[in-house]
């Protein structure tokens, strides 16, 4: 073993000190020859004969040196270095080709690496928690009634945690926090902050360790204990300048002194995992005893005991869930719950699985197109270089040596492309990670990691082999004599060559066609989504979180809200203003079943609508349509007749025969007069069908917060300052909350679709350009080669029009074959992405027709340039050439 190491060390040494070794050998050989000559002279030969014999006996001088080098150095590396040198020389000579090739490869590989980074982060890598495979999301199966039906009450949570046998521990967080729900004061102007209540073992269950201080203990979550908070790492850096002594200090939250007990690690990003696109600043313990009489508030996340499988845990949960009480004080509230277990990873990213796979495939198509394109370019080059190769073969270069040379070339190109691609991918991932407006989970973690690097190397090598070997085989298979003869005048190097390039172009067009049709379908779906009637008018409206202190009194609240709205409406440019507690497409909640007065329902039969608490004027500010009846007014006072407004879907559910206005509904024994019906609002997602909604006046029901919505003809941004100033005048504690255009909320909701659509469309555009390049290259090359033929045709009377038609016909033939194959393949592929489409069928004729037209026109355009050139060939000079 030691000898082996020693030998290799020596070999490496001699590889780098070649000259020294060569000189040494040179000296040795010359002394060898001299000694041989001397001996021959002694035997009586004449001097010339003596030298000749000595040289003969020595054998091939160069061979001996070569063997010496092989024996002492690294022959493989030697020849690689040689190939590399040669490659750089040829590429430098053909700079335009090299630049184009590297650019194309860089785009292809960059797109692939970037997409792989996204796929890796979201799909492949485990969640950023300890032993993430043990984590399970526990929730009732999804229903129509929003978050409230996907969560558990404090009692149910506690019972489930105690009674199950499958989990090490179960934790949860409060599902109904809104953004900017805290006000941080005591450091200049009040600043908004987003906080979430988590049950006390939340971080222990996830396996998150604090970077400073400690996590919550049971004492922190006891009723009446001193309030404490954990800070998110980003928030600690941003708001507290990464103060290393923050632990133990008190901060002022909503007018209460809260002690900071720790700072979470940078790797923990609550928003990235549980509510994509949102940032959460701080965490406070969820005190179960404070919430016993509330509704369903908590999500549940469990950590499985080692060795317990998901089906076992599910069986366990199926036993435990029906035994849970909504509220243990009321025995009739037993048996309301189910518990469906999903691996946390699936809960977080499961919906995106198909989209990401589609994206991955699309970008793989791009790489294929790039390879085909380069193979094509290289074939063109190879044809031009066939004489060079024939010469090298004639001079004794082996076939494998030539292939190795070509592979070296393609590897060099691919590596340069990969370097460029990595730069592009790095830029893209940086952009994606730092842009909060795309609601995709874990996106902020996206980076070009080790996996992506390995993937890049892999695709680079595969791509180099793909586009390097094809021309390599062709060249090495070349018939020597023919190739050398081919350089002579007027010979064409056979139809075989043309056919291969034709096949490449056809496949390129077919691949581009599939990509374009896929992108077209996604684009059309996206346009359909944008066209959806949201039930409100997102443009020209904006919302801001309002701080108020009503002390729990509806009367006081009425006064405050009325005052705020009258001041806001007085601002020039404000057309309408209103207040709501939950904006659409965000969080929502539910207050249980709403029944028609006097009607008997079976359990679960009555609808449970989503609840919104609003002020008069909100519907107008939001741009909602009142279908029947009237809006709330300030006369609907706290002590007056309790009134509600319902949406059309709920009206249909309660009073199918119509005429809901004036009817009486009942919730928990309280009778409510329906005074109006509004159009359905897409409350949970833009694409899902709207559910049941009920609106209560803020004068009579308790809101969960206040979002002031303003409608204006001006750009909403211009009002931000005056609105905030007005709110500050009324309430000095008003934090500098963000003024969010409603359109932004809608954009946020459709951002995943926009993200995928945009990417696939970019890839398709890239594919189209590459295909056009391919067509242009082939047609242009064939025109060059057929210059003489065309010259003869023109000399015999063909008009320029005839010639153009001839070339264009060849172009169209290639394009149409490609399109035909592409369309057939697309029909199959489109069915696979059917679930990603919205409002169109996978075989949408408009998309297919449009793409066929686009491809055909691009092909004609790509063919037209060489066709024009062909038609301008001067017959005389064409015939005289060569």
């Amino acid at each position: 073993m030691r000898d082996f190491m020693r030998e290799w060390l020596m070999r490496v040494r001699s590889f780098f000190r070649k000259r020294e070794f060569d000189q040494d050998l040179e000296r040795e050989i010359s002394s060898h020859i001299e000694m041989a000559v001397e001996e021959n002279l002694r035997q009586g030969m004449i001097p010339e004969e003596a030298r000749r014999q000595a040289l003969v006996r020595f054998g091939g001088m160069e061979q001996a040196k070569e063997r010496h080098r092989e024996a002492r150095g690294l022959p493989l590396l030697d020849s690689i270095v040689q190939d590399l040198r040669y490659t750089f020389r040829t590429l430098r000579r053909d700079r335009a080709f090299a630049v184009i090739a590297v650019l194309i490869l860089g785009l292809g590989i960059g797109a692939n690496t970037a997409v792989f980074s996204v796929v890796d982060t979201i799909l492949l890598r485990p969640l950023p928690f300890a032993n993430p495979q043990q984590l399970v999301w526990i929730a009732p199966p999804p229903t129509k009634c929003g978050f409230s039906c996907e969560t558990y009450s404090a009692d149910a949570f506690e019972e489930f945690r105690a009674q199950n046998h499958s989990f090490q521990d179960v934790a949860g967080y409060f599902a109904f926090s809104t953004e900017d729900n805290y006000r941080l004061t005591g450091r200049g102007e009040p600043v908004p902050a987003t906080g979430i209540y988590v049950t006390r073992s939340f971080f222990q269950v996830l396996g998150v360790e604090p970077s400073l201080g400690r996590l919550f203990t049971p004492d922190d979550a006891r009723k009446g204990s001193h309030p404490v908070a954990l800070l998110a790492n980003a928030y600690w850096r941003r708001q507290f300048a990464a103060d290393p002594k923050i632990v133990g200090k008190a901060i002022d939250l909503n007018g209460q002194a809260v002690t900071v007990i720790g700072v979470l690690p940078p790797s923990f990003d609550f928003g990235a995992v549980f509510s994509p696109g949102e940032k959460v600043d701080l965490f406070t313990p969820f005190v179960l005893d404070d919430w016993r009489d509330d509704g369903n508030d908590l999500t549940m996340i469990g950590r499985l005991k080692p060795g317990v499988s998901l089906p076992q845990a599910q069986a366990d949960a199926n036993l435990v869930a029906p035994r849970l009480y909504f509220n243990i004080k009321y025995p009739t509230t037993k048996g309301w719950y189910k518990a469906h277990l999903t691996p946390l990873k699936v809960y977080v990213t499961g919906r995106l699985h198909r989209s990401l796979i589609v994206l991955w495939c699309a970008v793989g198509f791009i790489l294929l197109i790039v390879c085909v394109n380069l193979a094509n370019l290289l074939l063109g080059r190879a044809a031009a270089r066939s004489k060079e190769f024939a010469m090298r073969i004639a001079l004794g270069a082996g076939r494998r040596r030539l292939i190795r040379q070509l592979l070296t070339e393609s590897l060099v190109l691919a590596s340069a492309g990969a370097a460029l691609g990595l730069g592009i991918a790095y830029a893209i991932t940086q952009y994606l990670a730092h842009q909060g407006s795309i609601a995709l989970p874990l996106l902020s973690d996206v980076r070009v990691g080790g996996g992506a690097l390995a993937w890049t190397v892999l695709i680079t090598v595969v791509a180099a082999a793909l586009f390097g070997l094809l021309p390599g085989f062709r060249i090495s298979g070349v018939n020597l004599q023919e190739a050398l003869k081919d350089a002579g005048p007027g010979m064409s190097d056979g139809r075989k060559h043309d056919r291969l390039r034709g096949v490449l172009v056809v496949s390129e067009v077919a691949l581009a066609c599939v990509l374009l049709i896929g992108a077209g379908l996604l684009l059309r779906s996206f346009l359909h989504v944008l066209d959806v009637d949201l039930g409100f008018e997102p443009s020209h409206a904006a919302a801001i979180k309002v701080d108020y202190d009503d002390g729990g009194s509806p009367a006081k609240r009425s006064v405050i809200f009325q005052q705020i709205l009258s001041h806001i409406e007085a601002i020039p440019g404000v057309e309408a203003a209103g207040i709501v507690d939950y904006l659409p497409l965000g969080r929502n909640r539910n207050w249980g079943e709403l029944k028609v007065e006097g009607k008997i329902y079976r359990t679960g039969e009555a609808p449970s609508p989503l609840v919104y608490v609003v002020t008069p004027g909100f519907f107008r500010a939001m741009g909602m349509r009142l279908v029947a009846g009237r809006d709330f007014s300030w006369e609907d006072s706290p002590n007056g007749r309790k009134v509600i407004v319902i949406n059309e879907a709920l009206a249909r559910a309660l009073w199918p025969q119509g005429n809901a206005v004036g009817q009486i509904a009942v919730r928990d024994g309280q009778s409510l007069l329906v005074i109006g019906v509004v159009a359905d609002v897409r409350e949970t997602s833009v694409e899902g069908a709207p559910g049941w909604q009920v609106y209560y006046p803020a004068t009579q029901a308790g809101p969960a917060g206040a979002e002031l919505v303003i409608r204006t003809k001006l750009p909403p941004d211009t009002l931000a300052d005056s609105v905030l100033r007005t709110l500050r005048q009324l309430n000095p504690n008003q934090p500098a909350a963000a003024f969010v255009p409603i359109q932004q909320i809608v954009d946020h909701a459709v951002s995943p679709r926009r993200f995928f659509m945009l990417l696939v469309t970019c890839f398709a555009a890239l594919g189209l350009i590459l295909a056009a390049l391919g067509i242009y290259g082939v047609i242009s090359y064939s025109v060059t080669r057929r210059t003489q033929e065309i010259g003869i045709r023109m000399a015999l009377g063909a008009t320029p029009g005839n010639v153009q038609l001839l070339v264009l016909r060849a172009t169209l033939r290639l394009a149409l074959i490609g399109v035909a194959i592409g369309v057939a393949a697309s029909l199959a592929v489109a069915r696979l992405i059917a679930s990603l489409l919205f409002g169109i069928t996978p075989s949408d004729p408009v998309t297919f027709a449009a793409i066929v037209v686009i491809l055909a026109s691009v092909a004609i355009l790509a063919g037209y340039i060489p066709a024009r050139r062909a038609s301008r060939i001067d017959p005389m000079s064409a015939l005289r050439a060569n």
């Binding site: 020693r6 030998e7 001699s14 040795e28 002394s31 000694m35 001397e38 001996a64 494998r400």
Partner: protein, 134 residues
Amino acid sequence: MWYSHIFYSTLMWDDHRREHVQGKTRPSSRHLDLIVLRTLVAMGPMHGYGIARRIEQVSGNQVLLNQGTIYASLVRLQQRGLISTRWGTSGSGRQAKYYSITRSGRKRLAAETENWQRLSAVIGRLLATPEVGR
């Protein structure tokens, strides 16, 4: 077939060797190494030309050897630490590189010699067994 041939030969770029030419034996590089080591034991420190001449004489010109090929063998043995070199002056006053066997060279030679003898005895016996069915 054709492709596999290409792949194979692309991967295995060690040299092609013809072992027998015109009734003479061309020693493989491994055998040449063995011969060189043995020669150095017999002659003491010696230059490349001397080694080559000695091999020719001892083999009675049965070995097909271009004298130049022993230099590859010499550098290989040197890099493995089996022989050592120094520049010196020959009897005729000419500068020459002298090779001498090292301790580990002697050890290797002993081991290889034993190995060789055992192998040639076995192969000799095997080849001497009578043919069947003739």
